[in-house]
Symmetry: C2
Subunit: 266 residues, 2 copies
């Protein structure tokens, strides 16, 4: 599983406070912990109303002081991402583009001849499509553009847009349909998503998040935005990989346990 660690995000109150106070130790501490917990990318999102790029730079510099783990440069503003990736010492994840406006045409030429990976959300100028067919349409547009700019499938992460379960009438059937389509037509594309969105407004969210993760992995999800410090979630991911036949004799599961990724009191 490709783990995009989510805790350095100004939309999280404790992180917003650290950003407002320019608390460098907080940023460094989280980055170090996320890296040690097995993050593949450390997501960095300023989520501030003013001076976003300056704030992002301050965060990226701090993260790079304490870890070599690649950074996921995260902003709803594609131009901020374009500037942000220039601050990174090594290629990471451009997070994100979508079918909205000219995002793709701004981002893809910049990363075309690099090793940067990219996250694409399946929404466009009409918003978040309500049907699987419409989301697949957006997906195919993204893939056509990727082909045009020569970006390999294996550098692309697709977020089919996980929405809250509490207002759903058929559970996650629609998102599973989108994932299944991607997996069968573009097996090298990474299927991703922000796991915790699923449990919005429900009690005991961790159980819904964990169960969702298992079902999404069964449908092909191999990348996710989540908290790697959540040991039960991380353990559940290793367990699911073993159950799905991706971890012979559970060697990875047992190894991750011994490494302290899960099952430890912290």
């Amino acid at each position: 599983m490709i783990v995009i660690a989510e805790k350095l995000n100004g939309s999280i109150p404790t992180c917003a406070k650290a950003i407002a106070e320019r608390n460098a130790d907080y940023i460094r501490d989280i980055a170090k912990k996320e890296s040690e917990a097995g993050a593949t990318f450390i997501d960095v999102c300023a989520s501030v109303k003013e001076h976003e790029l300056e704030t992002l730079k301050w965060m990226i510099d701090l993260v790079q002081e304490v870890t070599d783990t690649p950074i996921s440069v995260d902003s709803p503003d594609v131009h901020v991402c374009v500037e942000g990736i220039k601050l990174c010492k090594k290629p990471g994840l451009f997070n994100s583009v979508s079918g909205e406006g000219d995002k793709i045409d701004v981002a893809f030429p910049i990363i075309a001849n690099t090793k940067w990976e990219v996250m694409a959300l399946l929404c466009d100028d009409t918003g978040i499509p309500k049907t699987a067919a419409k989301r697949i349409e957006v997906f195919e547009k993204v893939m056509a553009k990727a082909k045009e700019y020569g970006i390999a499938d294996s550098r692309i992460h697709i977020d089919p847009l996980v929405e809250m379960l509490c207002t759903s009438e058929d559970g996650i059937a629609m998102v599973v349909e989108v994932m299944t389509y991607i997996k069968s037509h573009y097996p090298k594309v990474h299927i991703s998503g922000a796991v915790s969105n699923i449990s919005f407004n429900l009690p005991v969210r961790k159980l819904v998040n964990q169960a969702f993760c298992v079902l999404a992995m069964n449908a092909g999800m191999d990348s996710a935005v989540l908290d790697p410090l959540n040991q039960d979630l991380m353990g559940m991911i290793y367990a699911t990989e073993a159950l799905l036949g991706m971890d012979e004799m559970c060697m990875e599961y047992i190894g991750a346990y011994r490494q302290g990724i899960f099952g430890q009191k912290k």
Copy 2:
């Protein structure tokens, strides 16, 4: 989910001690708690070397003192089950038969014209088959016998025999294949299993059990032998039902939470 509560079993050391000491309070207390936690059946298994039927009778009587929840009469000896079901005030679950010896021909005529349900394990005189095809063969034999004796599909629970993951090379693919076959050919048959067998010899077993439960439910499992006092597992089951589209707007999930089935400190 049909919950077959597993804690009154002499193969569990604390329960074995209570049986040896004829600790009636222990048996009554567990039965009451399992019932309150949402058990559909309370499994009662003596697991003693001598005087099994007498011990089973003592246990069944105690359970019936404190709860109306139907009993799962559990013994590896089909003749003990035959005597055991006569002690119950209402129909429950005959646990179990299999393709071994004459178990089915002993059990099926007894329960034919009753409301008793029955658990059938997919093994026979050759042991536990190693392939899905062989288990499906045993399953079809069970179903042919059920038809012969006029036992409706909806009264049958099939345990495809969950084996430990730690020695598996392809995860749970084989058991999922059996479940998928049953679900598509006999949609009214209940697919069951002893969930915790999957995690034998692995660390942090609860995570493997939970992830297995989610994947098995996705493959059609709607009945399981488990501990209903394990709140995270129960919550995960409710969450999975919602994710699989079996619980519109999460009303059951939220209801079970409010009822204290999960998410409570106990």
